[in-house]
Symmetry: C2
Subunit: 461 residues, 2 copies
């Protein structure tokens, strides 16, 4: 916990003038906003403000700039990388009350939302249109937060990540400008890609206040399947060959035997406790049947067994709930533990090799470590289960993560496929980027010369 | 033509020292490198250098920086927006000899190429892998040039533009660094998106020397179709409803009656001279039949008639050759003319309205103006056929383009969907971006403080 400090009285007065009661320095609220789903020590902000409009964000930014006070944007606090920690103190800008779906374009297959709208809320509000927003990181994150961390999740293999699904942003810059990064056309060759500059910037270059996202047609037919393998290589090779065949698989998730055991214990289910693929197919009724048949044949070639199909919505929901519960089920393997979540992503040609080498680390670790991930993207997670008060656990977890990240970088991969750099991976970003880190620093200095936007995250100056 | 000038003798000597005979100031070579496919007056560079490696690019950049001399990257000269004009003189950096396909990842569905490799060359070299590179702007452009202009073309509706298909770049920066923008993993949440910063930057922020692109599986089955409509609205609405239905159409090109007449005259064909959709479907054999049937039904609802199918490769090639020849066929409508090509892109919900309003402009114009475009993206082109020596033609063309761009911007669209800003649309970029133009200027100043990389393009400082 950072040492408590106080905002300048004139800043606090200014904030109250703008936002009335929607400014607080209450300990409970500050503490709540100083932690997320990561294992890092919390760091509470000095105040929390609840904004309702882009103009209010602009006013807060202008006040904080005058007082050289950090601003940390906050959505729902589901970050896994300490993005919301107020490591230098300052004002937490809670955007959860900016929760209006502003426009839905049923012909354009897009929607514009305020940054605090969550992905489930958006999908609820557009359900009647026959469209959906596909990016699904598991947590019901805010769409502004998802844009800021370049989030993805289980169906990125088919629908892309936030990089591909954000059309345009409204952003408040450090000098208080309100910028629309791009018009709403589906493609554009007009000038520098400001949109992609802010997607993944983790709130360090500007505050995202509105997001225009692509929507997709809800498929006529959806079918899911589960298939187990004697080893992870069979699962990975099945997915590689599926992609090479051009089969537009919608989800391809692999879960290790430990994860399957955790799910069984948590849900009283009877999955085979072997490396397992969860698959989903989207398309027309015939198309889905055809895709599923092709993939089943490919899986068999790679040792896939025990195909179970889930075509009824309730069966599919049960299956994907299980996948999304992997995190919580995993935690139960070691009561009282927290997870150090790893997030490497490698070219899929190296994925088997990366997982096999990592499995050896897992086998010699002192704690249980479930492994699961998005095979089609080359992205997988370890949940290194540490006791929060155990220094040796944390040391072991960090060393294991370090070896894993080094391995991924050596394989032309990245330390983070979807969680972001945040507070804990800054030095890995340097290793990974090489000379590119100088360009990133130049960007930060240009867009936030006083280092007030989420300082201490993504990179150090 | 800019007034002839000479490079500093010490710069020329330095270039010769690096590149030997691959430096020239010969008039013919300079003139060839000072023009492209645009209607702008040519502007020859003061010298042309032919580089063969990233290190040579770095050496040229370092020399030019010392001598404060502009550098204009050159691929094949197929720009439609004057990107290669040496409006401030300087050294033209011809990358056409950097033409090696460096690596093909058949499991990763990616390839790394030197910037001078053309798209057709790449597709030729990877034909045996069952993969292809989908971005197809018509011209056999260099992949570095396509990345620099954020090119797209006929099948972006299914496969995306260069924005989506570039995984990573190698870039030489103005301070002479060689930067790899991202690792090769299919997705990453690691830091600022340097890749997208250079894609579409038109050579103004750095020189792209290598490009890692996504490849896609060649579909098991491809089928194309042609369908005519009594008006353009029927064609556009067919495509909108197709996309809303989630049918993964691969190409959806609309051509106006004038364009169809031009094609008939050019190729001695007998297409109906009415607004026409050219469509293509990719998938499994069954999937393609199903998609085609669904789209045919949708087209009929919107007045589509005379469906003709092309499933044999030679028939499909004939069809798409016709589409790609629209530009050359159009030019024959007015012998001796050049085309002022427009490139607006609007949300597709506004596309019919935009085309109808534009049709009125076309009807009252003094010259023939074919219209065709990528309906699924909301992007269409006018070929305003001007006599090169006619001032009044050019004035009329500019006024028409101006009205069109204004109309597109008012509809939340852009002045350029795929050709780029280049030399002629800088003021439209300002209009379109509003406050964002300040961020773009800040980017340019940060990455190219001496304004030596393709000066006078994209924006003025």
């Amino acid at each position: 916990m950072n040492s408590p400090r106080e905002l300048a009285p004139s800043l606090l007065a200014g904030l109250h003038e703008c936002l009335g009661e929607r400014v607080t320095t209450a300990r409970g609220v500050r503490d709540h906003h100083g932690k997320d789903e990561s294992y890092f020590d919390p760091a509470a902000p000095d105040a929390v403000v609840f904004v309702r409009s882009t103009e209010e964000v602009q006013a807060v930014v202008n006040l904080c700039r005058l007082h050289r006070t950090p601003i940390i944007p906050y959505g729902v606090g589901s970050s896994l990388e300490g993005h919301v920690l107020a490591v230098n103190g300052g004002v937490c800008l809670d955007l959860s009350q900016m929760n209006q779906v502003l426009r839905v374009g049923t012909s354009d297959l897009d929607a514009t939302v305020q940054a605090g709208v969550t992905r489930k809320q958006l999908n609820e509000e557009i359900r009647h249109t026959g469209l959906f927003f596909p990016v699904d990181p598991g947590a019901d994150a805010s769409i502004g937060g998802m844009a800021s961390t370049r989030a993805s999740g289980t169906n990125a293999v088919r629908y892309g990540t936030m990089r591909e699904n954000v059309l345009s942003l409204q952003v408040v810059t450090a000098d208080g400008r309100i910028v629309r990064t791009a018009p709403r056309a589906r493609k554009s060759a007009a000038g520098y890609d400001l949109t992609r500059l802010f997607v993944g910037a983790e709130g360090t270059l500007g505050i995202i206040t509105e997001v225009t996202v692509r929507l997709h047609a809800i498929p006529e037919s959806i079918s899911a399947a589960v298939c187990s393998f004697s080893d992870m290589a069979g699962a990975v090779d099945t997915v590689i060959q599926t992609l090479q065949s051009g089969i537009p698989i919608a989800r391809s998730e692999a879960l290790c035997a430990t994860t399957m055991a955790a799910l069984n214990a948590w849900n009283k289910t009877t999955w085979r406790e072997r490396p397992t693929l969860f698959l989903e197919f989207h398309g027309t009724e015939q198309g889905v049947i055809e895709q599923a048949g092709l993939v089943q044949a490919i899986a068999r070639e790679h040792g896939g067994e025990d195909f179970q199909w889930a075509t009824r919505p309730e069966d599919r929901n049960r299956l994907w709930s299980a996948r999304h519960e992997a995190y919580f089920a995993g935690l139960q393997l070691r009561p009282g533990s927290r997870a150090v979540s790893t997030d490497v992503c490698v070219p899929i040609s190296r994925l088997t090799e990366c997982i096999v080498a990592t499995a050896a680390d897992i086998a010699s670790a002192s704690m249980p470590i479930p492994l699961f991930g998005h095979v089609g993207d080359g992205n997988f997670h370890l949940m290194i289960l540490v006791q929060p008060d155990s220094a040796s656990d944390l040391t072991e977890a960090k060393a294991l993560n370090e070896r894993l990240v080094r391995r991924a970088i050596d394989m032309e991969g990245t330390c983070t496929g979807e969680h972001g750099i945040g507070y804990g991976k800054k030095r890995w970003l340097e290793t990974e980027q090489g000379e590119g880190i100088h360009l990133m620093r130049a960007l930060k200095r240009t867009f936030d010369p006083d280092n007030l936007f989420n300082p201490g995250k993504l990179l150090d100056l």
